[in-house]
Symmetry: C2
Subunit: 122 residues, 2 copies
DNA sequence: TCCTTATCAGTAATAGTTCCTATTATTATT
DNA sequence: AATAATAATAGGAACTATTACTGATAAGGA
């Protein structure tokens, strides 16, 4: 994989941002630096970075994928009202049961859907 | 909500099937009974049934939504070797921490990636 | 039976994502 | 530094899951 300014910019942006971003948000942000970057390039590189494990992704109910530059594993909470995504630490022994059965968990994806504290109050 | 043979057939199919199905799989299956059912009708009724809580949905990484007539939620384990998908019960108090913060968890999706007991032995 | 209107079939439109191709830029080699 | 080989790019067309629209149909109450 060659190093290109496009991919570097995408990764840098995702790492600098503390929120999860959709592909088009990444596109808009990176376009400030590289005005003629293509949306296809954004998608291709998000795919590459995902495969290399440099970023992670979350699927929400609004049918578009969100990307996250923070790879240390954590659970996601997607609010159905305000559409914000919150991070939570993973409960450490969540898959103890599975381990005990001889399964090897290499990666885990935990997403909660519901209403965040703010929206739930209303 | 009126009772229609279309919605009944969709729900019956999802309950009879032990796997998660995409909208078009539901469409194909129900078309055996009701040849001229429309795909739009399938989507509309899947939406209705979801809203009523009669079925649940899971978003996977392959960008289409899967529907399940078994509403009790469970975790999935995807084996990277044999590609089988295993069901596990969810740890009950997994999101206690989140509840305590005033968040309302309406749905959760837990997917583990790794090697199943069989493939791990080798 | 008749009326109201939710639901339907069929189809067009939408939107996120992927694919295609000529061009550009990176990396290794001379 | 110049060259060659080719991975990655820009731009746009194509693809596909889903939603929206419209006139026709049928469920269910009066």
């Amino acid at each position: 994989m060659r190093e290109t300014k496009q991919r570097t910019a995408i990764l840098e942006f995702l790492r600098s941002k503390r929120q999860h971003c959709s592909a088009s948000e990444v596109y808009d942000a990176v376009r400030v630096k590289i005005p003629n970057i293509s949306l296809g390039t954004v998608y291709r590189n998000l795919g590459n970075l995902l495969e290399k494990g440099e970023i992670i992704s979350v699927e929400t109910s609004d049918k578009c994928v969100y990307y996250d530059g923070f790879t240390s594993s954590h659970a996601h909470f997607v609010c159905s009202e305000c559409k914000n995504i919150f991070d939570f630490p993973l409960t450490l022994d969540a898959h103890k049961e599975i381990d005990d059965m001889g399964f090897l968990v290499e990666n885990e994806r935990v997403v909660y859907y519901g209403k965040c504290a703010n929206c739930n109050k209303k």
